[in-house]
Symmetry: C2
Subunit: 337 residues, 2 copies
DNA sequence: CTAAAAGGTGACAGCGCTGTCGCCGAAAGC
DNA sequence: GCTTTCGGCGACAGCGCTGTCACCTTTTAG
């Protein structure tokens, strides 16, 4: 089953069939319909390898990651995959654990052997300058998801972390909390910094003072969340009524501490996270958190690559909306019920 | 950078380079070395599309899934990817949410356009007869991971669920537990049935009676675990000292119930799971469980596909070893400390 | 009403590799 | 010593498509 069969059945040359398949202009409508009918009748689908070899497109989009969180990667994958499938593309997933020149080499080799039409980069991999260098050297198009720096260097998609943190904080205030602690992420992480900013801005706008020690540094890991939780909860007299961890893993760390100290969530302590990772629903009580539009961001990234948008000038970033997910780990403080 | 460059540098024809690259025989060792040196010097990697078009192999392995658990899929992916990379293959991931004839059609279309060298199928997708039919019709090689039936139909890899459940039960007995409850999985799921069998066998071999109601049915979901947990724990007088949930999600369901009822794990109740899913480490206390060699199974599956093993007769199944992961959710019962 | 532009189509040459076949020389058999 | 085998290598023809260019037909402009 090749293009020749379709051409013969439609009574045109293979080139015309090719034109129809690729939605090129300069084909009479009647011809186009004839060809489409023939292709449909034969249930014909063009061969990807031949297209890739002859043309420039490979119909493959790469997804590179080094993120150890399978939930996050899975969501990205799914979003990207759906967008790919719509356009007849396929998704090639590659884990990139190397760093430095090894990373550079393996990317170069990869692109020499399979010319991907584009690559999606997710954090923290997307913030590796050597990767971007290698990709650019290989003339590969790439889109970053939630990158932290060099925003003008490539198209990217992101969500408004600051605003999300702001609204989550406002939600806690509306519940009646005023002594709210915050656990931040790595300071060099732009999204983390935005979340912290959103929190402090919301507190300031509400006229609430943030006492010393109420903002704890974290690393986005379960362990760092546990440590910050210990610092915040150890002294029964100095406990905040709510803790806002700037990602779910850290929130789970706090939850472990609370369990150990027999602090009941949400009765004794309101705890909220950020990311809506899969574990957020698996713990008890289920975690109030912010849903990142991970799958949508990935789908957008794939679309940008497929349509070759972002090649022209114009805004490089595409912002997507977040969503507050209210579950069982948040409630009004004791005095307010 | 093409094969011609290498041929020229090595002073041979492109066909000889091709032979060396494909490890074909009938090449003098000295020639082979010259070619390899030239290829290394030029940092040459053959073009996948051209190979696919000219030869029969596409150097692509598909991974099809419909499993909603991102942790599991992620592990499979990683194992398969590593095996692929070693052999210069790439992994194409596709989610297959369709069923029935829609599934058949989309698989057929997929294989018409991209001739994958092989496909890895993971549960529960690997137990869809229509999928297997479509794959066979498309003459695609496939390997199943932990399939439930028709074992002779294709090569597959699996682990010994019965033995793993047996050993976990023996471990609980050794801790001093004798009143152990078990939460099973869907009865039509072969692995689930094996786990139940391992549990009952271990109890019988230890001369322990399993009281009525001590074996609860589950669905492998968080929710079904919670429900089974409620049935087992609701009456304070009739609680078992240990619960063995036949997967981690259900164990987490039980844990949620225990939290709600203020039953302390592991002091008041030992709770163990099965799978070593990522969440098992994120909850508090961390869950004692059985590690499935998920990544290894996937790697083995990829290898079988790449080496075209399993084409000849011989055993279709490849068994891999499991591992007991002892964490903090298991301890001797109260009376024994 | 004629020239130029645009619309519509096909012939043909590759894309970068592998499969087939055929040639040459060296080892093996009589 | 002569044939036969086979190891070692290259020429050549595609794999199934797309890009280029050339050709013819219709429109549009002047």
């Amino acid at each position: 089953m090749t293009i020749d069969d379709v051409a013969e059945l439609a009574g045109v040359s293979i080139k015309t069939v090719s034109r129809v398949l690729n939605r090129e202009p300069h084909v009479r409508d009647s011809t186009r319909l004839r060809v489409e009918a023939a292709a449909a009748k034969l249930n014909y689908t063009p061969n990807v390898s031949a297209r890739a070899l002859a043309g420039s497109r490979s119909y493959l989009i790469g997804l590179y990651y080094d993120n150890p969180s399978p939930g996050y990667v899975g969501q990205v994958e799914q979003g990207a995959m759906i967008a790919c499938r719509k356009a007849g593309y396929h998704l090639v997933v590659e884990e990139m654990l190397e760093t430095g020149s090894a990373l550079r080499e393996s990317v170069t080799a990869l692109h020499a052997r399979a010319r991907l039409d584009g690559v999606i980069l997710i954090p923290p991999l997307c913030d590796r300058p050597e990767l971007l260098d290698a990709l650019e050297a290989a003339k590969a198009a790439y889109v970053r998801i939630a990158p932290s720096f060099d925003l003008e260097r490539s198209p990217y998609v992101f969500m408004d972390d600051r605003r999300a943190a702001y609204e989550m904080t406002a939600y806690l205030q509306k519940l009646g909390h005023s002594d709210i602690a915050f656990i931040g992420g790595p300071p060099d992480h732009v999204a983390a910094a935005s979340r912290t900013e959103g929190f402090t801005d919301a507190m300031a706008d509400a006229g609430l003072k943030v006492a010393k020690g109420r903002i704890q540094a974290g690393e986005f890991s379960f362990r760092s969340g546990r440590e910050a939780g210990e610092r915040l909860l150890d002294d029964p007299k100095k406990r905040p009524t709510a803790i806002f961890a700037s990602n779910d893993d850290m929130a789970l760390g706090v939850m472990a501490v609370a369990n150990r100290l027999h602090i009941e969530i949400p009765n004794d302590l309101t705890l909220v996270g950020f990311d809506d990772s899969p574990s957020a629903q698996v713990v008890w009580p289920q975690l109030t958190t912010v849903r990142q539009p991970t799958a949508e961001m990935a789908a957008n990234a794939a679309e940008i690559l497929i349509t070759r948008a972002g090649t022209e000038g114009g805004p490089r970033g595409r912002r997507l909306a977040f969503e507050l997910i209210i579950r069982d780990s948040s409630a009004p403080p004791r005095g307010r019920r």
